[in-house]
């Protein structure tokens, strides 16, 4: 037995060596991505990459339109994606494969923690997928663009217009932020948040128990919070309730006080009526906001764990507080969080209310950015970018989108009385076990218009109301075309934000007070804030001009 073990092991070791050397490429350890993939060889309709916008002032689509459903040859397409349906060969996938005569191959990214690393590896390895999806990676995007890894789709976008028209319908600025200075587009918005997706919620049953009116001003809200904390609103004889609760370690929870003061913000850059750029966490308004919140916290009207990184849904399901600023989507009857809450608190009743009026007399909801938070792009590894764009755009038309996302009416869902009634919901187990494929390519284009059929009409109205009530605030917050272009900010950002977070949360928790505000500002300046603001002002001025020009010239519109 010993001898044969010996022999086997030597053979194995030998095989190991051979297999390794057989495939070994010497010296190619930093092989460049540029060697991978054929460059975008355009077929018949020779798309010339001159950008239409500034130079010729004229955006006529070049060549003839192709019909993506009429191709004879099958094309292999690889998609890198994270969310949505990820099993291969689902019914929806096969439907798409047949319709457009393609072979879909899905590369599933390994989750939110490692996903961006994987995206980088895919782009750097010389073996890129045809469609790459990403979120946030502004710096890398610039590098990919410079390394010619992405295809300019601006001409395609103006030829096949479902995607373009949808975004322009919802918010013209979305495509502005996706467009480069010269009018070319290398990143296609994948998902844009609703203009505002949060609103103020309150426990109506607690209000009723204590015979209180729905608060309309900040002062009234604070009084309600006091009552919720001290007057035993659930009538159980125990001192276990609080006023405000919600997502811990997240300043969005304090939104009513943030919006109460002009130019207060916990994170973003602000711009005032004169066009002067400021840094939210360093503005006077923020100081006032902090003072308010710190006082409320020290009085005990806020759940003590608000300074810790708790889970929003878990907190909501547990209850114990009466006011929160959270998702409009909780209004849907199928909201899992609300269901959990109701199970534990059968009499509990959360209702959405209007934002309360603060010190500045202009109640505003928390606005989202016009820019997408997730993009996708066609890489230069794709054999036929025009065909790919054409078919993808076709997929994004209203009916096709609904079919891809929700399935076939009658089979996967029904519409009863205008309400979406799922037979098989996109997030359900059946979608997985039966490998149907609903919600394939989620976040590689999501419609929030009539295409979003699963919100109830009330919820849709709630979203719309919140959206409308956030526009003034949105105008006061700066959005950058590409944050990576602010080089001073990129350098100092980690340190500035560390100090900002440390100070702001320490004030809320009571370890520091707003009296040390000036020291805090001095520290920020010491970390480079002044240089950052100077650069930000410059870039803001440039981009404001660009935005105006874009709106006037209607490039990509």
């Amino acid at each position: 037995m010993k001898k044969s073990k010996q022999i086997i092991s030597l053979v194995l070791a030998l095989m190991l060596c051979i297999s390794v050397f057989a495939g070994c490429d010497n010296g190619g350890t930093t092989s460049s991505a540029a060697s991978g993939g054929t460059s975008a060889a355009d077929n018949s309709s020779a798309v010339d990459s001159s950008t239409g916008g500034d130079e010729s002032g004229d955006v006529t689509p070049t060549g003839e339109k192709v019909d993506p459903t009429a191709y004879e040859e099958t094309m292999d397409v690889t998609f890198a994606l994270m969310t949505g349906f990820t099993q291969s060969d689902s019914r929806v996938e096969k439907m798409l494969e047949e319709k457009y005569n393609i072979n879909i191959d899905l590369i599933v990214l390994p989750g939110w923690t490692d996903g961006q690393s994987k995206i980088n590896l895919l782009m750097a390895g010389g073996d890129m997928p045809d469609v790459i999806w990403w979120w946030s990676m502004d710096n890398e995007f610039l590098q990919w663009k410079d390394a010619d890894l992405l295809v300019d789709v601006s001409d395609y976008m103006n030829t096949y217009t479902n995607i373009r028209d949808y975004y322009n319908k919802m918010d013209t600025k979305t495509l502005f932020y996706a467009t480069e200075d010269d009018g070319s587009i290398y990143r296609i918005p994948g998902d844009v948040a609703e203009p505002s997706c949060e609103c103020l919620w309150i426990r109506q049953d607690w209000l009723d128990n204590l015979s209180l009116e729905v608060p309309t001003t900040i002062e009234e809200l604070e009084e309600v919070m006091r009552a919720f904390t001290e007057d035993d609103p659930d009538g159980n004889g125990q001192n276990d309730t609080y006023g405000l609760g919600g997502d811990g370690y997240d300043f969005r929870t304090f939104w009513p006080w943030v919006q109460s003061y002009d130019y207060a913000h916990y994170d973003r850059f602000t711009v005032d009526a004169d066009g002067t750029v400021g840094y939210g966490p360093a503005n006077e308004g923020t100081k006032n906001m902090l003072a308010d919140v710190a006082e409320l916290y020290s009085k005990g009207y806020i759940t003590p764990n608000i300074t810790q990184d708790t889970d929003r849904d878990e907190e909501m399901a547990n209850g114990g507080f009466g006011v929160t600023y959270s998702w409009c989507a909780y209004n849907n009857p199928d909201s899992q969080t609300m269901k959990s809450f109701k199970d534990a608190n059968p009499e509990g009743n959360w209702v959405p209310i209007d934002m309360v009026v603060g010190a500045n007399g202009n109640p505003q909801e928390d606005p989202a950015t016009s820019a997408a938070w997730a993009y996708f792009g066609i890489t230069t590894a794709c054999e036929d970018p025009e065909r790919l764009y054409a078919l993808y755009d076709d997929m994004c038309g209203l009916e096709n989108y609904i079919e891809r996302r929700y399935g076939v009416e009658g089979e996967d869902y029904t519409i009863e009385g205008g309400l979406y009634n799922p037979i098989i919901a996109p997030e359900s187990d059946e979608n997985n076990t039966q490998n149907i494929g609903l919600n394939l390519f989620n976040n590689l284009f999501n419609r929030k218009d009539e295409g979003l059929i699963y919100n109830t009409p009330e919820t849709t109205a709630l979203f719309a109301k919140s959206g409308a009530a956030s526009r003034d605030q949105a105008a006061a917050l700066v959005e950058w075309r590409n944050p990576a272009s602010l080089t001073a900010w990129v350098e100092s950002r980690t340190d500035i934000e560390d100090e900002k977070n440390r100070y702001m949360w320490s004030v809320v928790g009571g370890e520091e007070s707003v009296d040390s505000w000036d020291t805090y500002i001095a520290t920020l300046n010491g970390l480079g804030l002044e240089d950052v603001l100077a650069e930000a002002q410059e870039i803001y001025n440039t981009e404001a001009g660009q935005l105006e020009e874009y709106m006037n010239n209607k490039v990509n519109q």
Binding site: K2, C24, S31, S88, V108, T113, G125, D250, W327, S340
Partner: protein, 301 residues
């Protein structure tokens, strides 16, 4: 266990020793219960209903007991392919890896080996210096092992840490045992296979356990080297479920509610139980090698 019994009858326990024994056992009982708790908690959550599980808190018993989560988990394809990949990788990796580690450690344990110190230092160096993600990724691509299960095995096969531990254990084997075999005409290789290995059962079991656990818990290799979803390791499948979408978006400054409306708390818990239980079962099999006197017994026998 012969040694123990002999010893026990030879001495009478003093009062002090009796007290010590009682305290010792009590201490360990308490400690074990405390150690058990997190795993217990996860099991209880996995057996609770989803809406109770979302509320969080301390679980000593399931709330709204239900098996439905496990039914769901075993209907998902991911778990099966994850198991297949991880078992494949762990078994092959452990056998090959432990063997290769022993092969490498034994010569290094001999002072007489010329250049032994240099080689030892070379090995040690790899434990301290690590090139990072991209170079390893590119190496695997260039070898042609990308998206291949062997890419989950090979790069981790031998760890310098295990080598050093094994070498230290080999050194504790007396030379006299080898001398007698050498007189009989055996060469180093025969001595290694016929004498050293059988005497090192505890060491080999330990390193095998470490290696098996390392492979079982490894998710980073999947992120780096695997593309097809059906080749993901079990831990990668698990980690994919555990990471919080909201947190990720928050750190990106994104104010959007993730469209998913599932409550995956119980599924996450069940996945953890299913992924961790198998490796826990291995230890009892390894324990029998940690028996006192196994080495001496081997010599006498």
């Amino acid at each position: 266990m012969m040694g123990r019994k002999v010893k026990g009858t030879a001495i009478q326990s003093s009062v002090g020793e009796k007290i010590f024994t009682v305290l010792n056992y009590t201490f360990f009982i308490v400690l074990c219960l405390v150690m058990l708790y997190p795993f217990w908690h996860v099991i209880m959550v996995s057996l609770s209903s989803p809406s109770q599980a979302l509320r969080g808190g301390i679980f000593l018993l399931p709330k709204d007991f239900t098996f439905s989560t496990y039914v769901s988990v075993f209907q998902s394809k991911d778990i099966y392919s994850g198991f297949y990949t991880t078992i494949f990788v762990s078994v092959i990796g452990t056998v090959l890896g432990t063997f290769l580690t022993a092969l490498t450690a034994y010569p290094l344990s001999k002072d007489r080996l010329r250049g032994g110190k240099v080689l030892m230092f070379l090995v040690l160096f790899t434990m301290i210096f690590n090139a990072g993600m991209i170079p390893n990724y590119l190496l695997i691509k260039n070898i042609g092992l990308y998206d291949n299960r062997f890419a989950l095995i090979l790069p981790l096969l031998v760890s310098a840490y295990n080598c050093i531990i094994m070498k230290s254990f080999f050194r504790s084997i007396p030379e006299s045992l080898e001398e007698s075999a050498r007189i009989d005409g055996a060469n180093d290789m025969r001595i290694f296979f016929s004498i050293i290995l059988p005497l090192s059962k505890a060491t080999i079991a330990t390193i095998a356990l470490f290696t098996a656990v390392m492979y079982w818990n490894d998710y980073l290799s999947t992120v780096l080297y695997i593309q097809s979803s059906d080749k993901w390791s079990l831990q990668a499948v698990l980690r994919n479920m555990l990471t919080n979408t909201q947190q990720a978006m928050q750190s990106a400054g994104v104010n959007v509610r993730a469209q998913q409306n599932t409550n995956a708390e119980t599924i996450k818990a069940a996945n953890i139980v299913v992924a961790t239980l198998p490796i826990l079962i291995i230890y009892p099999f390894v324990q029998k090698y940690f028996v006192k006197g196994v080495m001496i017994g081997g010599v006498k026998g």
